[in-house]
Every structure is written in C-alpha cells, then in structure tokens.
Symmetry: C2
Subunit: 246 residues, 2 copies
C-alpha cells in the first residue's frame, strides 16, 4: 500500500535503525541500491528483492536510470504492495530521494521516509573524527564530489566558511578538489582524513594534508574530512588499518 524510503546507514548493518528493520520485516518487496552485503543480509529471505544498481546514488551512471527507478516504485505501489526503497545513508542526502517522492506523490502513491545514519556524519564519527569541536570547528558542510550536470560547489566560499568540509565520493577527484581548495586560499597544511569503506570491516583511514591529498593513496569509495577538526587525532576506535601520510 505504501512505499517507504528507508535509510540503510553507511555500511555496518548494526547502524540500521529499529524502524528500518521493522519495515523490512513487513515488506513485500525491497528495491535497493548497491549496498554492502551485510546490510542486505538483514532483508528477510521471503522478501522479493529488486537491485537497481547505483542508479539512485551520487555515483549515478551505471544501473537503472533515475526515471526507471521512479517508474518501478510507482508501479509497485499501484499494485498495492508494501515496498521498502532501501537507500545507502540517509534517503534525502545526495540520494535523489526527493525525486522519488515527487514521482510517488504525483502518481498518488502513499509514501513515508525514514531517516538513516548519513555517511557524511556516521563515517567520520565511527572513525573517531569529530565534525565539530569546541574552539576548532563550529560548523560543517557536506558536498558530493560527483555532482551531476557539471555543477561545482563554490570552493572559495566553502574555504571562507572555516568549518569542517566533508566530501562524499571524493576518492577519484581528490587531486582536483585539493587544488581548488588550495587556490581558494586554504592552507597546504590543513588536516585531511580520508576514510575508505567506512564502518565496514575493510575500513581504511589515511591521514594526510590538503597539500598531499592529491598523491595520497585513497581507495574508493571514500569520505574526505578536511579542516582543523580532522587534526583532532582521536585514538583508533577499532583495529583498522591506518596509514599516516604527511
């Protein structure tokens, strides 16, 4: 009867919410992006799964088009099924979730949205990197490195804001991002922590600086945390591989 847009969190299946698990238990169908296998293991075996690839995420390009995903959700909703649309992180943070809701609303299909732990916050936090810290960072800004339509953030304005900068999907474009921020006046010594495969067993953290980011070894997918708060080096929370590069 209803299509529920549900955030699946950053990767660790224990970071799903109670509400996400309850809705998965009630679902007839789950429509999911490319998600970590341990998260998909929480989908009951009796539930039909439809994998729409990466189509709905910031790395769009493979998988179904967004228009095709919208159509699938509308058609499943019209069949009177209980549908969970499971999206990595939070459904309304770079997930094109609002477009899916607008399509459902236009078609008259009932919908709800359930927040999830956004990778933008959850990955740094789980890695021991605070996004705000008294006297160090009083704000944080989240951008995606892989913006559609060739749009770019105003890096100069971002540099001036002075808080922590979180760049999602930033591994592949880290050299260009570093150059843009350096050109915008950020110091070469600005601390950077790159977290690859955040919250999963294969998590890797690389500590570096803005000046060295372009040549640092960073595996995709990665979340980049840039700013003085990234220098607040907290001891490793769990035994993960950590590489210091300065």
């Amino acid at each position: 009867m209803t299509v529920h847009l549900v955030g699946a969190g950053p990767g660790d299946p224990e970071l799903l919410t109670l509400k996400a698990v309850r809705l998965l238990g009630m679902a007839d169908v789950v429509v999911h992006d490319r998600l970590a296998a341990p998260v998909l293991a929480l989908v009951p075996e009796t539930v039909t799964r439809i994998d729409v690839g990466k189509g709905g995420g910031p790395g769009a390009g493979s998988g179904h088009t967004q228009e095709a995903i919208n159509r699938i959700l509308v058609e499943l909703g019209r069949l009177g099924l209980e549908v969970v649309r499971l999206k990595g992180g939070d459904p309304f943070v770079f997930g094109r979730g609002a477009e899916e809701v607008l399509a459902l609303a236009e078609a008259g299909v009932p919908w709800t949205v359930v927040p999830g732990v956004s990778s933008a916050v959850g990955v740094p936090t789980a890695a021991g990197v605070p996004l705000t810290h008294r006297g160090v960072a009083a704000s944080f800004t989240v951008v995606s490195a892989t913006l559609a339509e060739g749009r770019h953030p105003d890096w100069e304005a971002l540099a001036r804001v002075g808080g922590t900068l979180v760049v999602l999907m930033g591994a592949g474009r880290r050299a260009g991002i570093a150059t843009a921020l350096l050109d915008a006046g950020m110091a070469s010594a600005t601390a950077v922590v790159a977290v690859s495969h955040g919250t999963l067993a294969e998590e890797v953290r690389v500590r570096t600086t803005l000046g060295q980011l372009g040549t640092a070894a960073v595996e995709a997918p990665a979340t980049l945390v840039i700013g003085d708060a990234a220098a607040v080096v907290l001891p490793p929370v769990s035994p993960v591989r950590e590489t210091a590069r300065t």
Copy 2:
C-alpha cells in the same frame, strides 16, 4: 570496562540503531543528557541511570558542567563498569563528544563511539524536507545557533555557498540569524522550514521565508532549514500540525 559514546538519534525511539540498543542491553550504567522520554524508555530498568541534564549538548548552561561529565565518565570507566554515554543525535555533532573522548583517552579508559541519526539530517528528512535536491541544492551546511564563546559563523560566506543551511537550536535566535543572512545578501523570499520537536508526536512544522522568520511562531527546540531546498514542498509524511506562514 569500556565507555561507549552512543548517538540516540533525534527523538523518535525507533530511530535508535541496532547497535545502540544492543549496547544499552549490556550496560551497567547509562549516563544521559536530557532526552525524550520515549528514548529513555528503551534503557532497561535494571540499568543504573545518571542524568547529567543538558550539560553535554549545544544548549549547555544548565545541568552538569562538561568537566563534571568528563570526570563522571572517567571514574565509572575506572570502576570497570560497562558504560553507555547516551547523547542526542550523533555524539560528534555539537555534542562535545570529542572532549569526552579526549578525557577518557588521557585517563587510559577504553572507549568506542557509535554514530547516531543526527538531528541536523534526520529531522529535516523525517519532515519531508530534502537537504539536497538535483538542480536546487548541491551541498548543505550545519551550524548551531547557540555557540559557546560568542563565536558566530561567517554568515556572508555561508550565504555565498548557496546550499541548504541547517541551524540547530535556532528557535530563540531566529530573528538575529535572519537579519544576519539578509545582511549577507540572501533574498527575503528564501524558503525556510522550522521543525519543532522533530520526529516526536508533538512535531510542528512552520513554513515561512527568511524575511518573515523573525516574527514567525516557532517553538523551541527547533531545527531551521533555510534555502531553495526548503521550497521543495513534499506532502506531509505523517499527520503533524503544519502552519504555513508567508
């Protein structure tokens, strides 16, 4: 043996993570901020509770001082107890969690941190307000209206970034914030959604504009969402009181 800093999410107890619930079930002691009653209902009755008031949150001023909270956590950890430090939202977003971790690390007390659904993301998402939207908002910035030490964000730079602006604890200072953003060049017609008591049964959403924000009726605590994404009016997700003010 360990002090776990655990995010409790924005208010709805179903937005706790599986990991938070598991750790609460194993805890000897829970040290908590002022949290919604339904969240505290998830703490097993056999667990000792220590209420440290608002001391650890962005609205610091009543309750224990941060230094007192740090001491309590260190002493409980040294007693060999399993401690959950339950914090609203995410522990490292305006929660002074990093200060608590630094105190624990300095004292040699083992600690972990568990991300939660941050109010900065979860409250807008649950209210149907997307923080990013294709062609409308390609980034979002989170600030707290109640900054310690009289520090203020660079509103002019924030206005230039052009993404969505999320202001936490913003109800009381909304007039000053609106004036600062208007002075920084933001348009008076810029859309604003103010969500009070987000994700709880008593949630109230007020739709207004930057020009009208100062005189709009907004109950504390509130999350303000400012920018063109706030104009992407999605239908109400759940039956809450909604007031349109333009």
